[in-house]
Subunit: 211 residues, 2 copies
């Protein structure tokens, strides 16, 4: 109950920093480090110590004066907030080059995000398997979704068919869409959408380059 209360106050900017905390803290734990001061964490994260204290206080992670933060506890709390304390079943729609790259990306499964099926329209690859994941025809989606509990749909289809596929996907009991297409999708039916904006990222680089 306390956690819910805390969660509501947390700003978007803080939430967006959480994966960076997660990454940094995981690395420290992998190196056998057990605790860290906000100053040391500040050096690594390139965030001011006071910002770090503020951020982490949001989640009830209060460091101890002269001792610092217990890393495993911190990681555990961040995992809970980010929803990384559970598993997600995913399907990929669109097995082009980008789709292939995502299927080959080992990190997803390690973090609990597992591809359970691939959907495409290319008859030549349908019914084959990649990394143990079967490729289905688009027309099989409905029956697949009935038989499998899918949380996340990853969209790497051409721009032209995104909306059609999104409409189909909205029919199923999924929780989120990870959208790699250039078409912006509106969250509907309680389904959350996370957009990957490659062009925006490149624009941020051209901004930095001209700063």
């Amino acid at each position: 109950m306390k956690k819910d209360k805390v969660k509501k106050k947390v700003s978007n900017a803080v939430i967006k920093r959480l994966p960076k905390y997660y990454k940094c803290i995981s690395k420290l734990i992998d190196c056998g480090i057990e605790k860290i001061s906000s100053n040391d964490l500040s050096d690594r994260m390139k965030i001011t110590p006071s910002q770090i204290r503020q951020d982490l206080n949001n989640f009830g992670c209060f460091g101890t004066q002269g001792y610092g933060y217990e890393l495993k506890f911190l990681l555990y709390e961040i995992e809970k907030i980010l929803g990384l304390d559970r598993k997600y079943n995913m399907i990929l729609v669109g097995y082009g080059n980008l789709g292939k790259a995502l299927i080959d990306y080992k990190e997803f499964k390690r973090k609990g995000f597992e591809f359970k099926g691939i959907f495409d329209i290319n008859k030549e690859i349908i019914n084959s398997e990649v990394n143990g994941i079967k490729i289905y025809d688009m027309s099989e989606m409905e029956s697949f979704m009935e038989e499998n509990k899918i949380d996340i749909v990853v969209l790497t289809v051409p721009k032209e068919v995104v909306n059609k596929i999104y409409l189909e996907v909205l029919k199923y009991e999924i929780k989120g869409v990870w959208n790699y297409t250039q078409e912006e999708l509106e969250p509907l039916n309680g389904i959350k959408v996370e957009q990957v904006h490659l062009m925006e990222s490149l624009m941020m680089l051209s901004y930095k380059v001209n700063e």
Copy 2:
């Protein structure tokens, strides 16, 4: 001179919203719309009207009461700030699935970001061409860089070789690195780095899904 002064005050959060303004405003212009009020822009961007006014005031784009913003002028100003008023030559290092997807992404060239060469170590593809772009052996990079003015290096290589390639790339007179690898790269020698964090994006989705 005035612009420089203005630029320094602009916060990171505002800068990160600029590509979204750019996208939204481009779309409006494509639809033949010439001006917009901050209220209408607010509806489309899902940002409060006062935030929009604040953001755009940063760049000297003051809307006129009862008239709104002149879209072409706004776009022109945002393009200048983002560095989109010039062209960038890029090379891709690592022609795997992700590299292939990026080479096929037409939007980059449309926005002024053009791939001039691809580098890989796979002998079977070296000297061939994709979309009119030649694939070179990694050993040819030095001579290629001497002959071509490259602004941006796009890294889609395996994690294990990133640091080695980054060290090589730092020798050349490039301006930025667009890093798709899981290895965090530190900006060095005045070279700016923009990191693409696929895992972070997926974590944001799992956060939303559990909100």
